[in-house]
């Protein structure tokens, strides 16, 4: 199992991450990637920027826990998670999740699961600047609901 978990200020390159994943094993039949981007509007307000705060060491540990859960649940060849922190502008990349598996169902489910878990378990705090005013983002109910999908049902392949 290949695992890459990174928290960084710098941007990431989807092509590099994909290349690493697809080359891991000739038995890989499916690579699913997710890239999260900063939307220009949130709740009808045009945002100037986002800021993501992390707790060095602990944030990485929280991401590793999420990845470990996915690895136990699905047969995967590799997982990459990159989360950016610091100041981010509209259309910037925020988060990357990539999963390589022999089969497409496992790859899709694991990537989807990873994003739902990251939203609720990654130690990150997001603030948003709108019209020069910075405010902290509240935890979303929709993220909590998304998470419950993975608890109620046995969705393993």
């Amino acid at each position: 199992m290949y695992r890459r978990v990174v928290v960084q200020n710098e941007d990431f390159d989807l092509a590099d991450e994909y290349r690493r994943l697809r080359q891991l094993d000739a038995a890989i039949g499916a690579v699913v990637t997710f890239c999260g981007l900063v939307r220009d509007c949130q709740q009808q307000a045009r945002i100037d920027s986002l800021n993501l705060q992390h707790y060095p060491g602990m944030t990485e540990a929280s991401l590793n826990e999420v990845v470990a859960t996915a690895e136990q649940r699905w047969p995967l060849h590799g997982v990459s998670v990159i989360h950016r922190v610091g100041e981010l502008l509209p259309s910037d990349q925020i988060v990357f999740v990539g999963v390589a598996s022999s089969h497409r169902a496992a790859a899709f489910q694991a990537a989807d699961f990873l994003m739902d878990y990251l939203k609720t378990h990654a130690l990150l705090w997001k603030s948003v600047e709108i019209d020069g005013q910075r405010s902290w983002v509240e935890a979303k109910d929709s993220d909590q609901r998304a998470l419950q999908r993975w608890m109620q049902s046995s969705t393993s392949p």
Binding site: Y55, M58, V95, L118, L123, L124, W125, W136, A139
Partner: protein, 91 residues
Amino acid sequence: MTGAPGISAVIKLLFFGRLGDSAVTAPEFFEASEGLTASAVRDALAIEHPLLVEALLEPQVLVSIDRVIADWNQPLTDGCELAFLPPVTGG
């Protein structure tokens, strides 16, 4: 190792998310008797720094000691790092 009460302990404090904003007036270090619990430190901070009260006493706030999520009743030792973690909103 839990020290005997009375021995002085210096605890490093960290506040994340909206707690960091309200905590502008909160100290970076806290001096206490060794063996004091995380919840005792929280309560003392809430009394001394009115801006922190509401955000700090929210039930969803977690605490970590030396970068590991901890129980509020865990006793603190000299030189430890105590962090207050409001609900996460990442991704």
